[in-house]
């Protein structure tokens, strides 16, 4: 493994033409054959075999399965599944765990940026993307033994759409979908609210729309102690709050029997403890190991363990509160922007592990090219910052820089130093996460580093942060920046179908944001590592903190123990 | 025959600053079986240290540096701790000044008495309890049976001192050391407790070392009296004759300082010296109205005085005549 972002990864991103895939994939998948050439072979084979699996696996497969099957994997989780509820996702780990095991979406976003069929085998839009038709995979059984049909998908969608159910995906799904109807037993039709070309990427997020059987939950039922039946390779078995989640093998999985008999997601909150337990083989796989631990594995000090960085586990950005008396002046924001040297920050706060970024887009991607063309990076330039500051309205008022405890702390320290260096008066507040969230929601801050993760589209991922209507709900738009022109541009974007059009529109949106100076992007951080025992085979992860995606390139479905 | 024969007892205390303090200096006296010896003197004169030396219960910083303590012919000063444990509580017992704190607050008085029987005489619980109740009767505690299960805090000081006496006399010792046993008590209670001690001493034929600074009590209780001043014995003699005719100026001074009807109170002039730096010669000389040059140079030995025969000893170069005070 490499401690630096792997060159292959960047290339594959570009090569795969994430964006091009958007519609191309949709169209291509309609033809049951993904076009993207960079799709790893197992995936392709898998989908070829997908239909066949129900009819019986090839003789060689059966032998292989016999050879590899069995065993209990104990996975050291950094955070817990806070509720086994299918429509409640309280953290990325919560979502990843469910997605890796018992819940599946209709389609998924692969590590290459392409969309792949899961419970839907193909999907197609009408000309203006106001109607989306999804063909469902046939022969998929829920864990309760009942076959999945249109009715289940319709019920799941409607459940999410009803605000009273407080489903996690409501905010994303409700504005887009007007209604859903069954075309036949295995086909559903979404009638969209206007033109929604980006719809597939939105529902590819497991936290937005997992599919569970009709009537699995009562209306308004938000407290459950058992997971609803899903379609994933593992069945929900047991959930103990603040302790563990257990899943067992689902022999009738539509993709073929998984190897592992059981997986225990054991909550071990301390990264050091996870590392130790991995060394003693009490756990065989874990996430969010520290760079120090990974370094010791790299150097050979710790043996029999493999580590791999979650290269896109998240990015960091620094946001300005434009409502604050200090930063309502764009010149002051600009001065602060030039005061921040992000490479220095990565070095100081993230052991130099990370990659600089210009917006919420992966480096080297087509989005990145667009961004670079329209909006040249504002490198750290203290002299320029000092000059801008001197000419601005800033009179030495203390800046409330709020950071969360833990990882936020070194960022806060480094940022304060840089800002003070050019003449800002910084009041650094290191806060417990709840207080940190509260202050952001109530606007009791001037400047704050925040996290985020790549969902496959820079506008759809982040639109909520920019919309005027969402300034009222400050947990969405926390910069409090409002520009109706930007909002209408985003609306237009949602209706675009061609990648060229999208890139052009993105360029306009990015320019507005660039000129508004509401955010400075810090970079992707690569400080989280997966680690596993060397006798554990078949583990792949997406590189973004998720170890999942069921059939798409790895996950836990094809993990097995080598004797 | 003397049951206790203390010869040239010297006890030194190691001080925190590295120096030493002589708390008992070259002290000798005897007590016969059935005899009561009163040891009198001011506070800090070495009475209690003498008593604790006999019990070998001195603090760890105190050390018997010279002399012998012959008890029934055997030197206690050289006994091992284990040997001493068979003597304490069984052959020599001691009662202390503070009845309020000398009993263990966490155990019943019955247990604290019967424990001695169990420990020294290896009795069982039933028998030791029986014997303890008998002891309560002997020290005249009312309702001895009810007393057994009660805790020290349920009793007055006088009753507690009776319990202490019961403990001390449980095994029928040869020698009882009573260190200011009634000082902390009211006068009426004092008399009752003294009468209990006196009766039992008489009944059991005990030798009693009675330590007190109260000359009247000593006169009433004791056959013989030893007067201590500044770690040394000043005078020893028969109780009656010593009180009527003191030969040492210090004894004389003590007697004069007792308030008596119709007589002027004449306290001894000056104050007691600091034990860390005793004066040369006779220790009493700075306060002695009769002191002469020799007193300042030579330390007088405790010696028999003329006329011989009455057993009077005094440590004075110029003893008084012995009949009343010198004019």
């Amino acid at each position: 493994m490499s401690m630096k972002p792997s060159a292959t990864w960047v290339r594959s991103l570009t090569g795969a033409c994430i964006g091009a895939a958007l519609l191309a994939v949709a169209a291509a998948c309609g033809a049951e054959e993904p076009t993207a050439t960079a799709v790893p072979t197992p995936t392709t084979e898998f989908f070829e075999a997908g239909g066949a699996s129900a009819a019986g696996v090839a003789a060689g497969e059966a032998e292989l399965w016999e050879e590899r099957q069995g065993g209990t994997l104990i996975f050291g989780s950094a955070k817990e599944v806070t509720s086994p509820h299918a429509f409640t996702t309280t953290s990325s780990v919560d979502g990843h765990t469910k997605e890796a095991t018992w819940l599946e979406p209709l389609i998924q976003l692969g590590g290459d940026g392409n969309l792949y069929p899961v419970l839907a085998t193909s999907w197609v839009a009408n000309d203006d993307s106001s109607v989306w038709t999804f063909h469902l995979r046939q022969g998929v059984l829920f864990h309760n033994g009942v076959e999945m049909t249109s009715a289940d998908v319709i019920w799941s969608v409607n459940y999410v759409m009803d605000a009273n159910n407080a489903a996690r995906g409501h905010g994303e799904l409700a504005p887009l979908v007007r209604s859903i109807e069954a075309v036949d037993k295995y086909t559903v039709r979404f009638n969209m609210a206007g033109s929604q070309s980006s719809f597939p990427i939105i529902i590819s997020d497991i936290s937005v729309l997992p599919i569970i059987p009709v009537d699995s939950l009562e209306p308004g039922e938000i407290q459950v102690r058992e997971g609803s039946p899903g379609t994933g390779p593992f069945k929900f078995d047991e959930w103990v709050p603040a302790s563990k989640t257990v899943v067992t093998r689902f022999d009738d999985y539509w993709g073929g029997k998984p190897y592992l008999e059981k997986i225990v997601f054991q909550l071990i909150a301390s990264a050091t403890s996870r590392g130790n337990a991995l060394r003693t083989r009490e756990i065989q796989l874990t996430e969010r190991l520290t760079p120090i631990f990974a370094g010791r594995v790299e150097s050979g000090e710790i043996g029999a363990i493999e580590v791999s960085p979650a290269t896109r586990s998240g990015y960091r950005r620094v946001i300005f509160n434009v409502d604050s008396p200090i930063f309502d002046d764009i010149d002051v924001r600009l001065a602060a922007t030039y005061a921040m040297d992000m490479q220095k920050l990565l070095d100081e706060a993230f052991f130099g592990l990370g990659a600089l970024m210009d917006g919420v887009v992966p480096p080297g991607s087509i989005w990145d090219d667009t961004l670079r063309a329209c909006c040249p990076r504002r490198e750290g330039d203290p002299d320029k910052a000092r000059a801008l500051l001197a000419a601005s309205s800033y009179a030495g008022e203390p800046i409330r820089l709020i950071v969360g405890r833990g990882q936020g702390e070194p960022i806060g320290v480094s940022l304060s130093r840089q800002l003070r260096d050019v003449g800002f008066n910084v009041n650094l507040q290191v806060l417990e996460s709840g207080v940190y969230d509260d202050k952001q929601a109530t606007g009791d801050f001037d400047l704050s580093p925040k996290g985020g993760s790549w969902g496959g589209d820079p506008v759809i991922d982040a639109a909520g942060r920019w919309r005027c209507e969402l300034t009222e709900l400050h947990y969405n738009n926390q910069t409090r920046y409002c520009n109706p022109e930007l909002d209408s541009m985003i609306d237009v974007y949602y209706g675009l179908t061609e990648i060229e059009d999208k890139l052009a529109q993105y360029s306009k949106i990015a320019t507005i944001l660039y000129d508004a100076v509401i955010t400075k992007h810090m970079g992707w951080n690569f400080t989280r590592f997966f680690g596993w025992n060397d006798n554990l085979k078949g583990f792949e992860h997406r590189g973004e903190g998720g170890y999942t995606r069921g059939p798409i390139g790895g996950g836990l479905w094809r993990v097995y123990f080598e004797d | 025959m003397a049951i206790l024969d203390v010869q040239h007892l010297t006890v030194d205390f190691a001080l925190d600053d590295g120096g030493t303090l002589r708390a008992v200096d070259d002290t000798s006296f005897t007590i016969d079986s059935g005899e009561v010896l009163g040891l009198v003197g001011e506070s800090g004169s070495g009475k209690s240290v003498t008593a604790l030396s006999i019990m070998r219960l001195l603090d760890s910083q105190a050390d018997i540096t010279a002399g012998r303590i012959l008890f029934d012919g055997e030197d206690l000063a050289t006994k091992s701790e284990a040997e001493m444990r068979t003597i304490r509580g069984q052959r020599i017992s001691m009662i202390f000044q503070e009845p309020m704190t000398s009993l263990n607050p966490a155990y019943t008085v019955g247990d604290q008495v019967s424990e001695v029987f169990r420990h020294h005489l290896h009795m069982g619980f039933g028998e030791s309890k029986q014997r303890a109740i008998e002891m309560f009767e002997r020290v005249k505690i009312p309702r001895p049976k009810d007393t057994y299960g009660k805790f020290p805090h349920e009793f007055s000081g006088g009753m507690r001192q009776r319990v202490m006496i019961a403990i001390a006399l449980a095994c029928g010792p040869d020698l009882l050391i009573a260190d200011e046993p009634t000082t902390a008590l009211d006068v009426t209670i004092q008399a009752q407790v003294l009468s209990v001690i006196q009766d039992l001493q008489h009944d059991m034929g005990l030798a009693l070392l009675f330590i007190s600074h109260d000359l009247e009590v000593v006169a009433q209780m004791c056959d013989k009296v030893a007067v201590m001043y500044g770690a040394r014995l000043m005078e020893v003699g028969e109780s009656t004759s010593l009180f009527t005719g003191p030969r040492h100026p210090y004894t004389d001074g003590l007697l004069r300082s007792i308030p008596r009807r119709g007589q002027p109170l004449t306290p001894i002039a000056g104050t007691i010296f600091d034990l860390r730096s005793p004066p040369d010669g006779c220790r009493f000389h700075p306060r002695c109205p009769y002191a002469e040059d020799r007193c300042r140079r030579e330390t007088p030995e405790l010696r028999a005085l003329e006329p011989a025969g009455d057993g009077r000893l005094a440590a004075c170069h110029f003893p008084l005549a012995g009949v009343g005070a010198k004019a």
Binding site: A166, A242, L473 | N104
Partner: protein, 322 residues
């Protein structure tokens, strides 16, 4: 008489508990962080960026966070008095059930630590007092200093490295119920017990040593010696019981502290006790569980102090009829 005393002390705890319940309830409400947002998957902008107003409102109603606080309190107290601490908004398990399910683990750990701590502390503390300035005293002092100066988590990590990673003798995390596999139970509980036991012992040794030295100067000790009792009896019968009087109070406090569990230790050893539950519940802004666990721990503290009082009365005859 002791029974009447016990009952009276028990009645006296009622106002204490009432006040605690009010404080716990209000303090928990003061914990910053929007529980609605947490329920909706919002934490530090990590994943969710779009939350609709409708869903927020629906969740607010569901969580009952809009009712007046006195009403919320009255409702909660009414249920709590019937042993119902509410149900976590995150799942359908009554808070009481979660606590009871996790309580044994914490109690076993607390008991094991107390037993280990006491077995180490009492002989060492007494020996240190009796043999001042000898090697025993220095050893005891060392244990005390080590226990007080070194943070528990560091000791825990070092023990894990030594016994778990390098020697491979003991597991590094987790818990097995004794009824499932007693040997595994012991293996899992050993390291956390050592960490907590050492901490406990350090406190107790320090206390016993000081108190014992004071007790040894008491007159009753001289009396006991004057009786000709052996040193063993003097120390372990006469001084010990008196010293225990004071120590019991300290023990009561320390034990109640342990009964509340140790967040850091439970966290490091991924030990499924109630204090780790509390920590996770705070992260999750699961206020029903936080309230439940805190009030439960408060109950334990009050109860353990009550027990210590009764024990004190048993040991100390002077207090009984007062």
């Amino acid at each position: 008489m002791l029974i009447r005393y016990s009952l009276r002390r028990l009645l006296e705890t009622i106002p204490t508990l009432f006040i605690i319940s009010v404080i716990v309830f209000s303090l928990v409400l003061l914990i910053p962080g929007d529980r609605v947002l947490v329920m909706l998957g919002y934490s530090g902008g990590d994943i969710a960026d779009v939350i609709s107003k409708e869903v927020y409102a629906a969740m607010e109603i569901r969580l009952g966070v809009n009712d007046p606080i006195p009403l919320q309190y009255a409702r909660w107290l009414g249920r709590a008095l019937q042993g119902d601490l509410g149900t976590s908004p995150l799942h359908a398990i009554p808070v009481m059930d979660i606590i009871l399910a996790r309580l044994p683990a914490t109690i076993y750990l607390a008991l094991a630590s107390i037993i280990l701590g006491t077995l180490v502390a009492i002989p060492l503390g007494v020996a240190a007092a009796v043999k001042q300035n000898t090697w025993v005293d220095h050893l005891a002092n060392g244990v005390v200093l080590f226990g007080l100066v070194t943070p528990g988590f560091w000791v825990a990590l070092m023990l894990v490295l030594l016994f778990g990673v390098y020697l491979g003798w003991l597991p590094t995390f987790g818990y097995t119920a004794p009824q499932d596999d007693f040997v595994e139970f012991l293996r899992h509980i050993t390291l956390p017990t050592i960490v907590l036991g050492l901490d406990f012992a350090a406190n107790v040794i320090r206390f016993i040593r000081t108190d014992f030295i004071e007790q040894m100067r008491e007159d009753y000790v001289r009396t006991a010696r004057a009786k000709g009792l052996s040193e063993r009896l003097v120390i372990w019968k006469h001084i010990f019981k008196n010293s225990m009087l004071a120590t019991v109070t300290v023990l009561g406090f320390d034990i109640s502290r342990l009964m509340g569990g140790s967040t850091i230790i439970e966290s490091i050893f991924a030990y499924p006790g109630i204090s780790f539950l509390l920590l996770q519940s705070i992260f999750n802004r699961d206020f029903a569980t936080v309230q439940g666990v805190v009030i439960f721990i408060a109950l334990m503290v009050v109860f353990m102090n009550y027990l210590a009082d009764i024990l004190y009365a048993l040991l100390n005859p002077r207090i009984r009829y007062e």
